[in-house]
């Protein structure tokens, strides 16, 4: 089975062809990072306009690189939710038009489920190990941070165990990077600087550290960095900057890792998975692997290309839906909300 995936939920226009084994035949991503960088964040209308300009060439290139023609496809999957509605609409409409005109089944995919299943993508001939259901997945990106219990690829079998009460982890990285004048997006820059810094120099408190809580809070860490800068000024040397980045990153990674393994322990599962853009963070990857090893558990990390927004994960998630015999109608719509039920209430206060 060969499925074309289309993704346009935020600031990447992407298309990919994936088969039933998870093998990625092509994966084309057009990033809008440069377009939005000057504003320090994503401008929704600019994102929509850029998606529209690029959607057809990106899909055509994905088919071309896979040496696949439209008639050879067995289905078309498109990110339908969650995301910027104007941006999502471009991909959804283009995918609908293509599927309708070609007489192919269409399936809408939840972007978060795409990230959760990205770990099954095979990007080379040499197959990588994949987790067994059920597993626990930490999904951390610029808009979402949550831990899920995943019993199968079906949305009904994916349960949120805890999520952030305020900022997403990636959002905190971006905001701290902004405080430090590192530009947008901040995650990769902080990761790079942190690699040479001393994470123990500034002992930022890990928020929501209660052992049994699976909820996160990242606005507090960001505030600690802001207060540090208010008191001491911005770092004046590369070394100070690296230490500050390393200390912030250590607090964030500690929070993410602790709760992932607490969740795994509470669920009694042996396999843990990470996904989303923050899963590309080198310290998070190393810490999760080390912690899993220590506990005789198995950690599964998607390749970097599978962590950031891509259409291969959408194709694969759509393929799993098609395999269950589910197809969506031509009235498929775009929506900003995920299909996954939220367990965590946003905001402060007692729970």
């Amino acid at each position: 089975m060969l499925v074309l995936g289309v993704e346009s939920s935020c600031d990447e226009t992407a298309a990919a062809v994936v088969d039933h084994t998870g093998l990625v035949h092509s994966d084309v991503v057009h990033s809008q990072v440069k377009l939005h960088a000057q504003y320090g964040g994503i401008i929704p209308e600019l994102a929509s306009r850029d998606h529209l300009r690029n959607i057809a060439p990106v899909i055509a290139e994905a088919l071309d690189r896979a040496s696949v023609t439209v008639p050879q496809l067995d289905g078309i999957a498109v990110t339908q939710r969650p995301g910027l509605v104007g941006a999502l609409l471009v991909g959804v409409q283009a995918a609908k038009g293509l599927a309708w005109a070609a007489g192919k089944p269409l399936v809408g995919v939840d972007h978060l489920i795409g990230h959760i299943l990205a770990v099954y993508l095979q990007r080379s001939e040499e197959r990588i190990d994949t987790p067994s259901f059920p597993f626990v997945c930490l999904l951390a990106s610029g808009g979402h941070t949550a831990i899920y219990s995943v019993a199968s690829p079906r949305p009904d079998d994916i349960t949120e165990l805890g999520a952030t009460r305020d900022d997403a982890a990636g959002e905190a990285f971006d905001k701290v990077a902004k405080l430090l004048d590192l530009g947008y997006p901040g995650g990769p820059k902080i990761d790079r600087l942190a690699a040479t810094g001393n994470p123990a120099r500034y002992p930022f408190t890990v928020p929501m550290a209660a052992k049994r809580s699976l909820e996160f809070s990242f606005s507090g860490i960001k505030t600690q960095v802001a207060q540090h800068i208010e008191r001491n000024g911005k770092p004046q040397t590369e070394s100070d900057l690296a230490d500050l980045c390393a200390s912030f990153q250590r607090a964030a990674v500690t929070s993410l890792t602790r709760k992932l393994f607490t969740a795994a322990s509470m669920q009694g599962v042996r396999d843990v998975v990470i996904g989303g853009g923050v899963a590309a963070n080198r310290e998070l990857r190393a810490t999760v692997l080390a912690e899993a090893h220590k506990r005789d558990m198995r950690a599964f990390l998607p390749s970097i290309a599978s962590c950031t927004d891509n259409a291969a994960m959408i194709a694969y998630a759509g393929l799993k839906t098609l395999e269950r015999g589910e197809v969506h109608g031509w009235d498929l719509s775009a929506t900003s909300r995920t299909v996954l039920a939220r367990a965590t209430r946003k905001g402060r206060g007692e729970r």
Binding site: R49, L52, A56, L84, L89, A101, E171, L332
Partner: protein, 218 residues
């Protein structure tokens, strides 16, 4: 006999028409309109699919898509344009873009065409002998002065057409009409050369609002 489809979703009314073109002329076989609020994305393709089934048309037999590019709702205009971009990937059909201004000013020697830009604002384009000026966005509070200046420049024979703001004492013909119908786009679209689908874009006129939304979807 060539099969064509014209469609427009740039206003609150979604519209499409299916027509056949032969040496004898254009025959509109079916036209549909639906007033929907922010729901063209859900409604357009099911309606189009049903219409094609009614006529026994397979999508791949439609040789040209004439697409309304607004101006109007940015998102609305992108509904039809992105749908057609997807269709054309599968069928390699021809594509032509037609603006609402072209439809409104069609056949008028001197005209100023007005399209709703929400909150009392307008998109405007002046036409003389079939030649358009650069389209502009005029905020509500500047419209009256803009209109009087434009009428002075165009002369007394000008026709104001479209979603024309109510201003007393202009002394020229006013044709209040909205919205554009898909069947009206057909003749204009067929006179134009086919364009590359990749170049198909709404006529935005106005630049994007620079409202940052860092964390919405990542």
């Amino acid at each position: 006999m060539r099969r064509i489809c014209a469609l427009d979703t740039s206003s609150a009314v979604g519209t499409f028409a299916l027509a056949e073109v032969s040496d004898a002329g254009v025959r509109v076989l079916l036209e549909r309109e639906q007033r929907v609020s922010n729901a063209h994305g859900e409604s357009l393709l099911p309606l189009l699919d049903a219409a094609c089934r009614e006529l026994g048309w397979a999508p791949k037999t439609i040789e040209r898509w004439i697409v309304g590019i607004g101006p109007g709702s940015f998102t609305g205009a992108r509904i039809a344009t992105s749908l057609v971009k997807g269709i054309v990937l599968a069928t390699e059909a021809e594509v032509t873009a037609v603006s609402s201004f072209e439809v409104l000013a069609f056949g008028l020697p001197v005209a100023i065409a007005f399209v709703d830009a929400m909150k009392g604002d307008r998109y405007v384009q002046a036409w003389r002998d079939g030649q358009p000026s650069e389209p502009v966005y005029v905020p509500a509070n500047a419209l009256e002065a803009w209109m009087r200046g434009a009428i002075d420049a165009a002369g007394p024979s000008v026709t104001l057409i479209g979603d024309v703001p109510v201003v007393a004492g202009l002394g020229v013909e006013v044709v209040e009409r909205t919205p554009v119908r898909a069947s009206e786009m057909i003749g204009i679209g067929l006179r134009k050369a086919a364009a590359a689908a990749t170049d198909l874009e709404p006529l935005y006129v106005r630049s994007a609002d620079l409202h940052v939304k860092v964390s919405e979807a990542k």
